[in-house]
């Protein structure tokens, strides 16, 4: 009896195909080649050729997007408190990784306020806090880089969300520090 699955990440990721798929794929390719050859002989079927070219172009575009995403996520880390999230074309990111524009705006505003707070801190404390914020930022970039290679990984998605939340909490803590009034 099959085990009941409650969550997506419980599904097996390694289910082998029940049969060898290659012969059917090879046959389909052979059919397509012969169809293309026959198309040249039959002008009325040119529309099919146009769609094939469009499909090829779309495939290339998808591969390019994949490469771009990989390169974006693979970029080296930068100091946290002095940077904002690198601007990426949201259209290039999988929906699960797109971060809300409002979130980005709030974060950027927070970073400006935190930088002002850091500037007012004694140098030793400033260095310590800035290093922690940089650690948070680096950890988010590490998770994003890993997600670039494994976008469907539920663990990484969860860690990304909680790390972004944690960064906002830490930035807010630093911004509000020393302002607790009676």
């Amino acid at each position: 009896m099959s085990k009941r699955v409650n969550r997506i990440d419980e599904l097996s990721k390694d289910i082998p195909p029940s049969r060898d798929l290659w012969p059917a794929i090879a046959a389909a390719i052979a059919d397509q080649v012969s169809a293309d050859l026959s198309m040249k002989a039959v002008p009325g079927r040119r529309r099919v050729g146009w769609w094939s070219a469009a499909g090829l172009a779309a495939s290339l575009a998808l591969v390019s997007i994949g490469v771009l995403i990989g390169r974006q996520f693979g970029q080296p880390a930068q100091p946290v408190a002095n940077t904002t999230i690198p601007a990426r074309d949201p259209a290039l990111l999988p929906a699960s990784m797109q971060r809300d524009a409002e979130y980005r705006k709030q974060r950027e505003e927070l970073v400006v306020q935190v930088n002002a707070k850091l500037a007012a801190m004694p140098p030793a404390e400033r260095a310590k806090v800035a290093a922690s914020l940089a650690t948070l930022r680096k950890s988010i970039q590490d998770i994003e880089a890993a997600l670039g290679h494994d976008p469907a990984n539920a663990l990484l998605q969860e860690l990304l969300v909680t790390s972004c939340q944690e960064e906002m909490r830490a930035l807010t803590t630093v911004r509000d520090s020393g302002h607790q009034e009676i």
Binding site: K13, D14, A120, M121, P122, E125, K128, V129, A131, S132, L133, T135, L136, S139, D142, I143, A146, D150, N153, L155, L156, E158, L159, T162, S163, E166, R169, A170, T173, V174, S177, G178, Q180, E181, I182
Partner: protein, 301 residues
């Protein structure tokens, strides 16, 4: 007497007079006001220290030494709430030191806000909310309350009384140490290490980014433990007579320890990641631990 000896004598006289000169520039405070046995005491200080002690009188007593940069200390009480606030001159950025010793009724709830001042608290049985930016916090926290201890870069040391309560401890870059805690705990650190010892823990939520998390806890039967890290290692030592349901996963780290053994599985045949999903005994307590690249060691010794 030679010239050198006279010069040495002069230097000694000047050095000897310096502490007196320093004292002359210091003010003191010594005020006592009536307070409720279970009232609220709210304290704010910038620099120096705040030493809070619970006592058996229904009074709040404030004693201390103030730098010349401190304008005054306001002590007000009204409607069961006593406020103690260190006032600096307007435009002051240096933050003169105020060294305060404050006695409060033992049942008071206490709130302390400080910037670089160190904070200590002993013998207070009410809820406590202690916050610093860079100051160190050392506190005894009583159970039966909802307490919170936070710092940005200061280290935190908290000792519980083995009675169940709710406690939140967090720091950005400071290290955390909790002993004798019980009940519910939230512990968060970014780069500082966290070492936690709990008895009769019912719920533990932990989060670290790059710091190490060491958690030793005796769990109540149906406890819930959830810890998460990014690159920091975790050492979990969890005991429960009702057994444990483990859900542990690391993307690129290792899972080891006496509960791991050969039960650790690869998440995918072709990619990184290991997980340990297993039940021990009745699996009454649920333990969830996740990390990106940190190692997780799990035992039930």
């Amino acid at each position: 007497m030679s010239d050198a000896a006279i010069r040495s004598l002069r230097v000694l006289c000047v050095l000897g007079a310096m502490p007196l000169a320093a004292l002359a520039n210091e003010n003191t405070i010594d005020r006592t006001v009536a307070a409720d046995a279970r009232g609220e005491v709210v304290i704010s200080n910038v620099s120096g220290n705040v030493d809070v002690r619970g006592w058996d009188r229904n009074e709040v007593q404030v004693k201390g030494r103030l730098d010349e940069d401190v304008e005054r200390v306001d002590v007000d009480t009204s409607g069961g709430r006593t406020t103690i606030k260190v006032i600096l001159p307007k435009g002051s950025h240096d933050g003169g030191d105020a060294m305060l010793e404050i006695q409060v009724p033992r049942g008071s709830s206490v709130e302390v806000s400080a910037v670089s001042a160190d904070v200590t608290s002993r013998g207070v049985q009410g809820a406590q909310r202690l916050t610093t930016v860079s100051g160190e916090i050392i506190a005894d926290i009583s159970g039966g309350n909802d307490s919170q201890v936070r710092s940005v870069s200061g280290d935190i040391t908290v000792k519980g009384d083995s009675k169940a309560g709710a406690l939140r401890v967090s720091s950005v870059s400071g290290s955390l140490q909790l002993t004798n805690g019980a009940g519910k705990l939230d512990v968060v650190t970014v780069s500082g290490d966290a070492r936690v010892h709990m008895v009769d823990a019912s719920e533990i939520n932990g989060r670290t980014t790059s710091g190490e998390l060491e958690l030793h806890a005796k769990l109540v039967r149906d406890a819930r433990v959830s810890v998460e890290g990014v690159s920091g290692d975790m050492n979990l030592d969890l005991g429960n007579t009702g057994g444990l349901a483990l859900e542990i996963e690391s993307f690129s780290g290792e899972i080891t320890g006496c509960l791991a053994g050969d039960k650790v599985q690869k998440v995918s045949k072709y990619g990184p990641g290991v997980r340990l999903n297993t039940n021990i005994g009745d699996a009454a307590a649920r333990v969830r631990a996740k990390t990106l690249s940190g190692d997780i060691e799990i035992c039930d010794r």
